[in-house]
Subunit: 115 residues, 2 copies
DNA sequence: GTAACGTACAACCACATGGTTGTAGGAAGC
DNA sequence: GCTTCCTACAACCATGTGGTTGTACGTTAC
């Protein structure tokens, strides 16, 4: 594993947080620009409290951070969280490639056995 | 978006499927070698039915495929599914980099305004 | 000071999820 | 044939999730 510092629970939270279209949209938006929680809430056809919960889920997954500014709470995208998730999937791809290489090797040995 | 052919529901299923440690372990294993469902069930401290459900979740997320062989059902890792997930995260990184580039441009313009 | 705004949080509801046990059916072994 | 193995699926239960409304509190504006 490349990302050894991240616990299974954290990975659970990470992927769980990404498994909702509204939350993915929030992440995409706050990676581009800053939004207050209420600013985000205006964008979706649901209550403020619902959006607030989504932001909380993303925050627990380290995909966004909140910073108090006056009476507003500014939400920013946390690229590290996204990269962690991406690296985990890279690990799977690496595992798979190793397998493919191994099979290729075996086939090569078999070919040598032929003669 | 790079992966335009994949629906929001499919993305939901994809990340949802990856948001469980047992399921991630199953994916990692079946990417390396073939397992029957009962072969997988032996590995975990839970009922056969529970493992069967996990496999079903992974199958619906296109992360594994099942193939009947005799009385067994062989589970194989589906690398395309993993790559789809990874590409989605690449999109976020791309969004973020565009933003960083844009900010860098603005800063450069400001620097020119200085003199 | 007071009204309006932005946020936090609790309580509640419907529904999905992760687990269990039990039942049933097809394939392999004897 | 009969038994055993592997699988599928239904029913059930506890818990979590995504949504709602209502209440409370700090901050800004007037």
């Amino acid at each position: 594993m490349v990302v050894g510092s991240i616990s299974e629970d954290e990975v659970d939270r990470l992927f769980r947080a990404l498994a909702d279209a509204t939350r993915r949209d929030i992440v995409a938006r706050v990676l581009v620009a800053e939004y207050s929680v209420s600013g985000l809430a205006e964008l979706y056809d649901m209550s403020f409290a619902a959006v607030q919960k989504h932001v909380a889920v993303l925050e627990r997954a380290s995909l966004v951070t909140k910073e108090k500014r006056g009476r507003e709470q500014i939400v920013r995208g946390e690229m590290d969280g996204v990269q962690n998730a991406r690296r985990l999937l890279d690990d799977y791809e690496r595992i798979w490639r190793r397998r493919v290489d191994r099979i290729t090797d075996i086939l090569a040995e078999d070919a040598e056995d032929e003669h």
